[in-house]
């Protein structure tokens, strides 16, 4: 079961950490609608992570709240991309676009997983993600084709985000076993599908993917190596829960 746990942990942590980052836009969005959009996506992401933590719990891991809020940063398996601070709305939007397309394709694939508990959850989640992807595509296009400033800012943040985004596809120790047992298609296959989907959307937004010779995926997140931003995030995210673990709020 270690291979399935590894897969579930990295996905659950990606979603929990990005969900928390999305929630940091609550009250601060550049428009009321965007405030609501990021807050809604936060709620979805955290709900999706909870469903995965629940499967982990059924496999013998701690119950979802404890698992989410009591672990130290070095025990998180999220890609570093997701723990980076929100920065401005430009970076948040680029990250949202790059992550959500990968997330959609991942759950599309897992809907056919041979591990039925995950397949069941994936069949539900993949439909909900359509809205995240629509939202990301609309704003990428709007800002990429907006005015000079919005275009320049989106291109700068796409460049900044790119190698971190490639780090989402860092392979785990059990990659081959997951593929052989038809649990998950594997990160290499996922990454190539992702590139095929996002490339035309990026082009339509008049933006450019950094040249391939500069691609250097930021790895380590899946193995517990993180930036200082995750420490800060984990401390803040679990602050209330740790006041009295097990309390009913």
């Amino acid at each position: 079961m270690e291979h399935i746990k590894e897969l579930l942990y990295k996905m659950a942590d990606d979603l929990l950490v990005l969900g928390h980052r999305n929630s940091e836009w609550t009250g601060l969005g550049p428009l009321l609608e965007e405030d609501i959009a990021f807050s809604s996506m936060a709620q979805d992401k955290i709900g999706h992570s909870q469903a995965l933590f629940q499967i982990l719990h059924e496999l013998g891991e701690p119950e979802p709240d404890t698992n989410a809020f009591m672990r130290e940063a070095k025990l998180f398996h999220n890609a570093q991309f997701l723990e980076l601070q929100n920065d401005d709305y430009d970076f948040s939007t680029i990250r949202h676009f790059l992550f959500d397309h990968a997330d959609q394709l991942r759950f599309d694939n897992l809907a056919n997983s041979s591990f039925e508990p995950l397949a069941k959850v994936a069949r539900k989640i993949k439909g909900e993600l359509k809205y995240h992807v629509f939202h990301a595509d609309i704003w990428l296009n709007k800002l990429g084709n907006g005015n000079e400033e919005s275009h320049a800012r989106m291109q700068t943040e796409l460049n900044n985000a790119w190698n971190y985004a490639l780090g989402m596809f860092e392979k785990g120790d059990y990659e081959q076993q997951l593929i052989t047992e038809n649990i998950f298609e594997g990160e290499v296959s996922l990454q190539s599908k992702w590139l095929a989907v996002i490339t035309p959307i990026i082009e339509k937004a008049n933006l450019k993917i950094p040249s391939e010779k500069d691609w250097e995926p930021v790895l380590g997140g899946r193995k517990g190596y993180h930036t200082e931003h995750l420490d800060q995030l984990v401390t803040e995210m679990g602050e209330v829960f740790r006041i009295e673990p097990g309390a009913e709020w």
Partner: protein
């Protein structure tokens, strides 16, 4: 004598906590009712959205209602075995949404497209001359729209596959 039919009828009075005109049965989130013994009932539910924060509350409301009609042993469980999608709303459910001022989700053919989301029908004046303002709204299951004819903002219960 407790029958499944009697349980389904009893559950018709349990309403969505946010949409008081809509029952959980018409919403399509009660996926199974089983009478397991003389006074022993099992109910299975599924959330409209995975992250729906109301699901625990709704489980409790179902259990409370069964207690009211005298059931002694009650188990209510939420699963993804029969996942919800918006086509599961009953005809009466769609009417209830409209009565509450929400545009009902259009029937989908297994796929949600931007075309399906644009031009939803205004629940106030039935015009199709509307536009989507944002695919997100005050709860996970609603999006926000504007009617160009009656000049009113409205919400739609989102179509989901």
């Amino acid at each position: 004598m407790i029958t499944e039919k009697l349980i389904w009828t009893a559950l018709e009075t349990v309403k969505d906590p946010e949409i008081p005109t809509l029952s959980m049965v018409d919403m399509g989130i009660i996926t199974k009712v089983e009478v397991r013994g003389e006074s022993n009932v099992y109910v299975e539910m599924t959330p409209t959205f995975t992250g729906c924060p109301a699901i625990k509350m709704m489980e409790n409301m179902v259990a409370e209602r069964l207690k009211e009609i005298g059931i002694e042993t009650i188990e209510v469980k939420t699963t993804f075995d029969t996942p919800w999608n918006s086509n599961k709303l009953t005809e009466r459910g769609l009417m209830c949404l409209k009565k509450h001022g929400l545009a009902p989700p259009p029937k989908h053919q297994g796929e949600i497209t931007m075309e399906l989301l644009e031009h939803s029908i205004c629940p106030h004046c039935d015009s199709k001359n509307t536009e989507m303002k944002t695919p997100f709204g005050p709860t996970l299951c609603r999006s926000m729209h504007y009617c160009n004819d009656c000049l009113q903002a409205f919400e739609q219960f989102k179509p989901v596959v």
